[in-house]
């Protein structure tokens, strides 16, 4: 199978102080697929996402996005790349001082010379996709958490990007809204043939949306494969993560020194 590789990370390493967050991460993501990155908190999922969108630079290793090596792109080229990606933030990250309509239309107003009437139509279309048409004039503070996330999603896709990144799209939402968001991600991928990269640890959503799944552990890819393969994985760590078992090979406690010793100090 030789599909176009749209994102390629090669042996990416990143340290914050003494803690190695990414520890030789290698990954390929193909055009048009829905790729889920899962893993426990602090395993480097979000950090990796921030590397792909160019917000962080790796200490070593290389990242290619849409065929460009992020280490040697100029600022202008990076801006062009950024216009081809959309990012859906965990907290939605809507601009508080703007209405929903202004939030969604911001990239259009800034990056295109489209007439205001055209912009309004595009905004209506995108809001219709996420089921929030008619909410243009509300402020973000008047929306519920799920609605904010959907507005954030509309804003992420307003420039018709090639890749959309989702940072924990269903975290903190009730099961129904989470299901709605999952369905939206699937719809967008299928209808607009967008490549979706989803970072999550919500197991239900992983297996309902993913074409392929990568499991990260301690800054490395533990296992990567089709959704079904991961589900049937023989790796006890992956199984522990899927089932959510507190006992297993993945240690919950992150302290290195001995408990008794520290108590008696």
């Amino acid at each position: 199978m030789d599909r176009e590789v749209i994102i390629k990370a090669d042996n990416v390493k990143k340290k914050f102080g003494d803690r190695a967050i990414l520890n030789g991460l290698t990954l390929e993501i193909y055009r048009g697929e829905t790729f889920v990155i899962m893993g426990g908190s602090g395993c480097g999922k979000s950090t990796f996402l921030r590397h792909i969108i160019g917000a962080l630079k790796p200490d070593s290793g290389s990242i290619h996005l849409l065929g460009k090596n992020l280490a040697n792109v100029t600022d202008d080229e990076m801006d062009k790349l950024k216009k081809k990606i959309g990012m859906c933030f965990q907290s939605a990250a809507l601009f508080d001082s703007m209405t929903v309509g202004e939030n969604v239309s911001l990239p259009l107003r800034e990056h295109t010379k489209l007439d205001q009437s055209v912009v309004d139509i595009v905004v209506k279309m995108k809001l219709e996709l996420v089921g929030l048409r008619g909410f243009e004039d509300l402020m973000p503070s008047q929306l519920s958490g799920g609605m904010r996330k959907r507005v954030g999603l509309a804003r992420a896709i307003v420039m018709d990007p090639e890749v959309v990144f989702y940072d924990e799209p269903t975290a903190g939402l009730d099961p129904i809204v989470a299901g709605v968001i999952d369905k939206l991600i699937l719809d967008l991928s299928k209808k607009l043939s967008i490549t979706s990269v989803v970072v999550t640890h919500d197991m239900k959503s992983v297996f309902s949306i993913a074409d392929r799944v990568a499991m990260l552990y301690e800054g490395k890819v533990l296992e990567v494969g089709k959704s079904e393969e991961i589900k049937q994985s023989k790796n006890p760590m992956v199984q522990q993560f899927i089932v959510g078992n507190p006992d297993g090979p993945i240690r919950f406690f992150q302290q290195k020194d001995d408990y008794i010793e520290q108590l008696l100090k």
Partner: protein
């Protein structure tokens, strides 16, 4: 050893702040002067709304501060001057000290407390709620989009506010002089402007422009470098006001020194 370590740490932190604030300043200048030639203007609408917030909305507080300062200076100097029968010199005393020193400094301190804190809190909240990052992933440079309008608004509006403050301070002194000391209003005004040189006014305005840069840069820097939730926002707001205050007083001393030695 601990004491020396602490001093070293403070020195290193301070110089790091200084370097980073300067870097932010130069980047702001880049987006202000070079960015437009690349077709990347700052938002005009954003600048105007910031100007209203910075300037127009600060008029009341600027009025109170400088009006009463004018009254106080007039009374305090009359207390001394009347002993020599030199009541009329209250007029130039008030006019010159307000225009040279108290107008710019007090107004800037008030604006630093009002606007600098607001900038730091707003940008800080945007930072901790990922809004800054969202701007960046939309290929919208946060400095062009957020810092430049605030910088320009302060740079334009603070000197305007200072001019207004100067007038209000002189008015305060005038009221004391006329109604309390019984001076002739016409003589009060001619005396004020006879002794007040053009230099007194423009040095005050130059000072206020420098203070505007300080307030904008410190507020934006502290806001954009906020870490860690609500507590972080509180911290950077406090830090921005404290740092602005110190820098305003420091640069006031430096500029006064410079103007003192420039004899024009």
């Amino acid at each position: 050893m601990n004491f020396i370590e602490n001093i070293g740490k403070i020195l290193i932190d301070t110089s790091r702040y200084a370097v980073e604030i300067l870097a932010l300043f130069f980047e702001t200048l880049y987006w202000l002067f070079i960015g437009p030639f690349k077709g990347k203007f700052a938002k005009r609408q954003g600048i105007f709304s910031q100007m209203v917030f910075t300037g127009v909305d600060s008029i009341v507080i600027a009025f109170f501060v400088s009006f009463f300062t004018g009254i106080v200076i007039a009374m305090q100097s009359a207390y001394q001057l009347s002993r020599f029968g030199a009541d009329i010199f209250v007029a130039p005393m008030v006019a010159v000290s307000i225009a040279r020193e108290l107008g710019p400094v007090l107004t800037s301190l008030v604006v630093a407390g009002r606007i600098g804190a607001a900038i730091a809190a707003e940008l800080g909240t945007m930072k901790v709620t990922e809004q800054i990052e969202a701007l960046d992933t939309m290929a919208l440079n946060p400095i062009r989009f957020l810092v430049v309008p605030r910088f320009l608004a302060l740079l334009i509006m603070l000197p305007c506010l200072v001019m207004f403050s100067d007038l209000m301070g002189i008015l305060g002194g005038f009221l004391v002089g006329v109604f309390n000391l019984g001076l002739n209003p016409y003589r009060y005004i001619t005396f004020s402007f006879e002794f007040m040189a053009w230099k007194d006014v423009w040095t005050g305005l130059v000072k206020s422009a420098v203070f505007a840069v300080i307030i904008a840069m410190v507020g934006c820097y502290m806001g954009l470098n906020t870490k860690g939730g609500a507590e972080g926002v509180g911290k950077s707001t406090t830090l921005s006001v404290v740092t602005s205050f110190i820098l305003i007083i420091l640069f006031d001393a430096i500029l006064t020194g410079i103007f003192y030695f420039i004899k024009t």
